[in-house]
Symmetry: C2
Subunit: 233 residues, 2 copies
């Protein structure tokens, strides 16, 4: 069974949702047969590469949200995050565009390290005040993940994996996703938001129970030639 999760790095509910989904998956009896794939999404593609101010200032000044409302939102999210063992620190958050971070995760995917990259960037952004728009931070993170330093730097300095990020975003649009995190099970069921683990658990059970093997359509027996290990017919 395949689970695709559209999410952004600069998305507080995405980290919380990751923990809740992981908790459900950990308790799912067929967890070894579940493939999880992270897909890119950008909540705010208009974010500058770097913004010299706090997240509160960005949301109130640029997005026009009342400061009081922003602070209440942060308090609520921080409490929810703490419930999942996460230590959000909104005062330290560096406001940055996440596009390069998404390219970095696609590079990590190529080396089988996408989940570790996702985890590192979410933690760096929300818990440790790291700048996810800074190439040096991403290169350092890549090295910690076991990636090759020159390869990471060269890939990020150019435009590698931009197409993959854009393709993920386009696919989200095609599926009707308009907020993240968004979980897709076997392209059949969608779950919107950082739902409680029980919701994910029930969805995993349901999708598992309904999964079906491929139906091989009957073809023309005289044609329909294939080649196999023992030659072609």
């Amino acid at each position: 069974m395949k689970v695709e999760i559209w999410s952004d790095v600069a998305c507080p509910w995405c980290f919380i949702g990751k923990r809740r989904f992981e908790s459900a998956l950990e308790n799912f009896e067929h967890k070894d047969e579940v493939e999880v794939q992270w897909r890119s999404y950008q909540l705010d593609p208009t974010l500058p590469q770097h913004y010299d101010g706090t997240e509160t200032e960005y949301l109130s000044e640029i997005k026009g949200m009342p400061q009081q409302q922003v602070r209440q939102m942060f308090e609520h999210v921080t409490a929810q995050a703490a419930g999942e063992g996460l230590s959000y620190d909104f005062d330290k958050i560096v406001v940055a565009n996440s596009f390069m971070a998404h390219r970095f995760m696609h590079l990590a995917k190529e080396h089988g390290r996408m989940d570790a990259a996702k985890e590192a960037l979410l933690s760096g952004h929300f818990e440790h005040g790291e700048d996810i728009g800074d190439i040096d931070y991403l290169v350092r993170t890549g090295v910690v993940l076991g990636l090759d330093e020159p390869e990471v730097r060269e890939a990020l300095a150019g435009d590698k994996y931009s197409a993959e990020v854009r393709a993920d975003i386009a696919e989200a649009r095609a599926l009707g996703v308009n907020g993240v995190p968004f979980f897709v099970l076997d392209r059949k069921y969608g779950i919107s938001g950082a739902q409680p683990a029980e919701v994910f658990g029930r969805a995993l059970q349901q999708a598992w129970g309904e999964r079906s093997p491929l139906t091989v359509l009957p073809g023309n027996a005289n044609d329909g030639a294939t080649c196999g290990p023992e030659g072609c017919n």
Copy 2:
């Protein structure tokens, strides 16, 4: 709608099947909404990097097939290929392991050129006696496709995209594929072999008619928070 096609380069029915599928797709009214993805498969992973002999010799000497039977098979396939406008030349075929060629196609995929790469290698192998196991041939082909020469050479000289090739092959095994070409429509229907275009056409119609949008499962309204373009709730 998504169509995944598992196929090998060293697979005579795969090129014929490609043409027949393309013909069906060309006549399919929703062709612009069909995404085709080539997936890797190796008919014979034990093939040496290079074999100094003809395909006939390889199949008869190494695989123990009677020469007469091999020749009849080639004649039949060559006639079928000709029916699709392809000029197979089995006397010129260079016997080579296709693993590097598959890695090359995954590199091409990153630049949106996978279909063109597949076409070039199949034609090179079956029509022009090119050596698909030769890095220089692959680099030359990459340049023709608009890829960056040093990037192609460096990727192929290392082990880049090996994981992707192996993942494709593992997925084929999981789906029960034991011969190629194998076509999978929306992970729902499978079609085995180089079927006539009409078979592909009917399958496209059927899968299109039955495609369904995601069912978004109801969650807990108070939880299930998401972030969207206008902030988080």
